[in-house]
């Protein structure tokens, strides 16, 4: 989906792309560009420090400014599309209701799909986790002697560590989504569910392509870079023996599935080789084709602010002489479905609207979360995969609630973030600093006498901020903010002096 994005956006570097080539006999050297900040440091099972990575992203000011502007632009385009649809809020209600219904009868719809898909000639497989998924796909590929696989973008395969697994088993995987291909060549995970390389400047892409496919390192023209990539990848696509896609919607009553892209890359993956494997999470089910348009109308409007994706492809069965497989993957979804507060996360249709609107995400970059899913939806899904490793993520939010209100399927994201904080604190998965600070705050604030005594004495500046506000020694408030001046008297003191006679709450 990246192509459209790059073309349409107001580029902070507008005009620079014309420097090269247009009237010059030699390529103009680009100015020294800001190196791309990398994502969160992953240290085994230790809790990911999102703020540390976010601070590095913001220190790369060009990257941060571009990232914020690009994603905010998507949010604005989404708003414009929303205003064009009178029944927008009703559509959101419908979409949410359909997903809730389907999830509440998931076993029924899954089996219905399996039955109908099988009748259509599709081979249906069941995988309980990522490892099982990878093994099933490898077995299919080996049975056909496949060494080169083309694949369209899929967050599920990211969950499964699919590419790494295939590399170990000597199957070459080529991503067909441009943004995903950039990320693959850079050996980096996607930073966003819809626009995987949105954290990169064109100069970053030029540098990746120069190293990997031999393009001119000083040419960051988008058309040039896209063309180089096309030249390098098309031959591989044409010689691949198998193609893989995800699936946006799985239609139970017809036994078919639907894939939405803007680059046609799923069609490229599915239709070029004779073998098509689709890996799909079990939450992608919808009852029938009648329900599909509700989601089609919401998906691209929410994601990119376009009325519909360029391609909405229905896969109904193998073509003549070909094979079609669907691997239905659980990978923690059944368990999530049983979580009283967190099951609504399964309604997600991966539009990325919550990321585009999230003020923290826009300033941090998706890779700062150090998890498959970044941004608001990531904060509530990632801990279901590994509660310890991702225990800090629910704190990477101001809980402003914008995410919940752009969500096309009405997931109560910001409420779940609050619920995760409670759950984590309840399970002891909270950082000691927070725990100590809040325990102290709870004690102080429960007692008027202790509270009043803890207030700044002398009140000349913030070194006197009360302990419960600045329990840590670091004084993080004052790094980039001035401290409020403390007035001569608190309101409480003023009231006692000026209104004491009226006060019934006054102690004798």
């Amino acid at each position: 989906m990246t192509a459209e994005l790059h073309e349409e956006l107001t580029d902070p570097h507008a005009g620079e792309q014309l420097d090269h080539g247009a009237a010059s006999s030699r390529p103009l050297k680009s100015r020294i560009s800001e190196p791309q900040p990398r994502g969160a440091k992953i240290r085994g099972n230790r809790p990911v420090d999102q703020s540390e990575a976010a601070n590095r992203f913001m220190a790369a000011t060009e990257h941060e400014a571009m990232h914020d502007a690009r994603l905010w632009d998507l949010r604005q385009k989404r708003d414009k599309e929303m205003h064009g649809i009178e029944e927008w809020e009703e559509l959101r209600n419908l979409a949410s209701g359909i997903k809730e219904h389907t999830l509440s009868k998931l076993d029924y719809y899954l089996e219905l799909f399996e039955k109908n898909a099988t009748a259509n000639g599709i081979k249906v497989h069941w995988a309980k986790d990522g490892a099982e998924h990878n093994a099933i796909v490898l077995e299919i590929l080996r049975s056909k002697g496949v060494e080169l696989l083309i694949k369209s973008k899929s967050m599920l395969t990211e969950e499964c560590g699919f590419r790494e697994f295939m590399a170990k088993n000597n199957v070459e995987v080529i991503e067909t989504d441009l943004g995903e291909r950039i990320q693959q060549l850079d050996d980096e995970a996607p930073s966003h569910v819809v626009v995987p390389a949105v954290h990169k400047l064109r100069t970053d892409v030029a540098s990746v392509f120069a190293k990997t496919i031999g393009s001119d390192p000083d040419n960051a023209d988008a058309h040039y870079l896209t063309e180089c990539q096309r030249e390098a990848t098309r031959p591989l696509i044409l010689s691949a023996q198998a193609g893989m896609t995800g699936g946006n919607f799985v239609v139970a009553e017809t036994g078919t599935f639907v894939v939405c892209t803007n680059e046609g890359n799923a069609d490229l993956s599915a239709n070029t080789p004779p073998l098509h494997i689709a890996s799909i999470g079990i939450e992608k089910l919808i009852p029938g084709l009648n329900e599909l348009p509700v989601f089609i109308r919401l998906l691209s409007r929410s994601a990119l602010g376009s009325p519909i994706t360029q391609y909405t492809s229905h896969f109904r069965g193998p073509r003549e002489g070909g094979e079609m497989h669907v691997v239905l993957v659980d990978n923690g979804r059944s368990e999530r479905l049983g979580m009283e507060k967190f099951w609504p996360g399964l309604k997600c249709i991966r539009c990325g609207a919550c990321m585009n609107t999230c003020p923290v995400f826009r300033r941090s970059g998706g890779l700062s979360y150090g998890a498959t899913y970044a941004g608001p939806i990531g904060l509530i899904i990632d801990p279901t995969f590994n509660v310890h490793k991702y225990r800090n993520l629910p704190y990477s939010s101001t809980m402003n609630g914008s995410c919940t209100n752009v969500c096309p399927v009405k997931i109560n994201i910001h409420e779940q973030i609050a619920d995760w904080r409670k759950t984590l604190a309840g399970e002891g998965e909270i950082s000691p600093v927070k725990k100590v600070m809040m325990k102290a705050a709870g004690e102080v604030l429960a007692s008027p006498v202790v509270y009043r005594a803890s207030l700044p004495l002398g009140r000349s500046a913030l070194r006197h901020l009360p302990h419960f506000m600045l329990y840590n020694k670091l004084n993080t408030w004052g790094r980039k903010r001035d401290i409020p001046e403390t007035p001569k008297q608190t309101f409480n003191e003023w009231y006692r002096r000026n209104r004491k006679s009226q006060s019934e709450g006054e102690k004798s």
């Binding site: 904080r421 429960a446 008027p448 903010r481 001035d482 401290i483 209104r499």
Partner: protein, 256 residues
């Protein structure tokens, strides 16, 4: 002013949030005086501390329980509890769940109002004859106040535009509104977020201040002091000369 269902004079308890008490007593005073202008009997229970939000916001619900109990003890006897803070109101109304939900707790939770919504929805004020503020003002809505208390329409939803604070400020003589490019964007305060996630918090604050500056505003006003304390802190450090004033002060007739 009578309690509508009882026909007796309305008794209002004033809750002054901890940071208003400490850093912005003038906001508490303006709130008290403003409510009194409408003939209300207003009391400030002097043993009050906090609504429990810092602990709840961090997930430490158990640690909030005693503070919540104290809040209910302080405010149980009033017909209405009014506070110049939307985020504290949201805490009491929607998140005060660490303690047993007795009748007293339910009463306090359902009767706690943020000042603007109290003036707009309960008192249905239609004039502030004493108020005049001939300045260009940018309005900031706290996110809890905007999206949880629904004090105004939000840009995320397709709904009829409305704004309770703007409706009230519109009755102030001489006021002029400055438009922000991202009016609903969070300023990055976020309660304990401002301390635990200092980097992103400050960056969001700086961006908010830049937007306010570009709007040509002289003043920024809000019904939440917490966001403004953060924004003002950023503005001062950036050397930006914007002035921050609580909406209670403007409505109470502050001139500048």
């Amino acid at each position: 002013m009578l309690v509508e269902d009882k026909g007796i004079p309305m008794k209002v308890g004033l809750f002054v949030p901890c940071y208003v008490d400490m850093f912005h007593p003038e906001t508490g005073i303006a709130t008290l005086e403003l409510l009194e202008r409408f003939g209300l009997s207003v009391e400030y229970p002097v043993d009050q501390t906090c609504c429990g939000q810092p602990m709840t916001n961090t997930g430490c619900e158990r640690e909030a329980a005693k503070t919540e109990e104290l809040f209910v003890r302080n405010f149980g006897k009033y017909d209405y509890i009014v506070t110049p803070s939307g985020s504290c109101t949201n805490q009491v109304r929607n998140n005060m769940t660490a303690i047993e939900q007795t009748e007293a707790v339910k009463h306090v939770r359902s009767r706690t109002y943020e000042l603007v919504e109290f003036l707009h929805d309960v008192l249905k004020v239609d004039a502030f004859p004493w108020a005049e503020f001939p300045h260009r003002v940018a309005l900031h809505n706290n996110c809890n106040t905007l999206r949880n208390l629904r004090i105004a329409s939000m840009s995320e939803r397709r709904e009829e535009p409305f704004s309770k604070p703007k409706a009230l400020l519109g009755m102030v003589k001489g006021i002029e509104f400055a438009d922000l490019t991202r009016p609903d964007e969070c300023c990055g305060f976020g309660g304990t977020f401002s301390v635990f996630e200092e980097g992103v918090s400050a960056k969001m604050g700086q961006d908010k201040v830049t937007d306010q500056l570009k709007s040509g505003a002289e003043y920024v006003t809000s019904s939440d002091s917490s966001c403004m304390m953060h924004q003002e802190g950023c503005a001062r450090r950036m050397g930006v000369n914007l002035k921050y004033i609580h909406i209670a002060q403007i409505l109470n007739g502050a001139r500048a």
